[in-house]
């Protein structure tokens, strides 16, 4: 309970800092904190394999890619872009708070959700269990994702290539 509370608080605070920092480098660093806190939440959910994959894919690949592009663009503070006026930002924040309330209030009111989660099933998140599912029953989506990533690599190179 304490571990989950700490991880949830850390991810929410880090998330807010990600979307409010002006310098994208600071946002990327706070995103790192947020992702690591999320890995703890995955562990609390009984999914150690997904926690490892989350750290590998998100902090290992996606975050490094973000930092790489930020360094590549080498933005000066005057190039961060003009922010929306404060009133618009406050309105947007209230809108998103409303979205949160719209989802969260029915959840809090629903008494069917009061039951504690059942204990983690024996092979819920084990590498063996997930791997078996991934390479037998769900082989098609797995292969489709690999094709998608291949296409994304080609697309990325083609889009970012300097025109000759």
């Amino acid at each position: 309970m304490i571990v989950f509370g700490a991880a949830a608080a850390a991810s929410v605070i880090a998330g807010v800092l990600v979307v409010t920092r002006r310098n994208p480098v600071y946002s990327a660093i706070w995103m790192l904190v947020c992702f690591l806190a999320f890995a703890v939440v995955y562990l609390k959910l009984g999914a150690p394999f997904l926690a490892a994959m989350h750290v590998l894919v998100y902090t290992g690949a996606i975050l490094v890619l973000f930092l790489f592009v930020i360094m590549l663009l080498n933005l000066q503070p005057e190039e961060y872009g003009r922010e929306l006026p404060l009133s618009t930002r406050v309105f947007t924040a209230l809108l998103c708070l409303g979205l949160f309330a719209f989802i969260a209030v029915p959840l809090v009111r629903d008494e069917a959700l009061d039951r504690p989660l059942p204990p983690v099933p024996a092979d819920f998140g084990s590498v063996r269990h997930v791997g078996e599912a991934l390479f037998t029953k769900h082989a098609l989506p797995f292969e489709l994702v690999s094709v998608l990533i291949l296409v994304a690599i080609f697309g990325g190179v083609l889009l970012a290539k300097r025109k000759a």
Binding site: V12, V19, D114, L117, H138, V145, V151
Partner: protein, 101 residues
């Protein structure tokens, strides 16, 4: 621990990401916010899988596929950011209005 705690956390991350997408004008931070939203949804998926224990493996595969799609999306998105910055010298969405009707 109830499933509600995880779902509320998921909703919070989704709302935070939504603010980043709607309220910011920096393309890089826009992409980061989309990642936050995707993460929130993944947590909800896994929490539901814990409630319906028999679906654990399906949820794991679904979350892995979502992670793969997120990685592909970021690769293409950042390539577009680089291309836009090279041509327009800005990452400010407010100044990228060429397609406005």
């Amino acid at each position: 621990m109830t499933v509600r705690d995880y779902l509320v956390l998921s909703a919070a991350m989704f709302a935070i990401g939504a603010y980043g997408v709607l309220g910011r004008r920096n393309l890089l931070i826009l992409l980061m916010s989309v990642e936050l939203m995707l993460n929130g949804v993944n947590i909800a998926l896994l929490a539901f899988a814990r409630v319906h224990a028999a679906t654990g493996e399906h949820a794991h595969v679904l979350v892995l596929v979502a992670m793969g799609v997120a990685a592909a999306e970021v690769a293409v998105g950042l390539a577009i950011v680089i291309a836009v910055f090279r041509n327009r010298k800005t990452v400010d969405t407010g100044r990228l209005g060429s397609l406005r009707g």
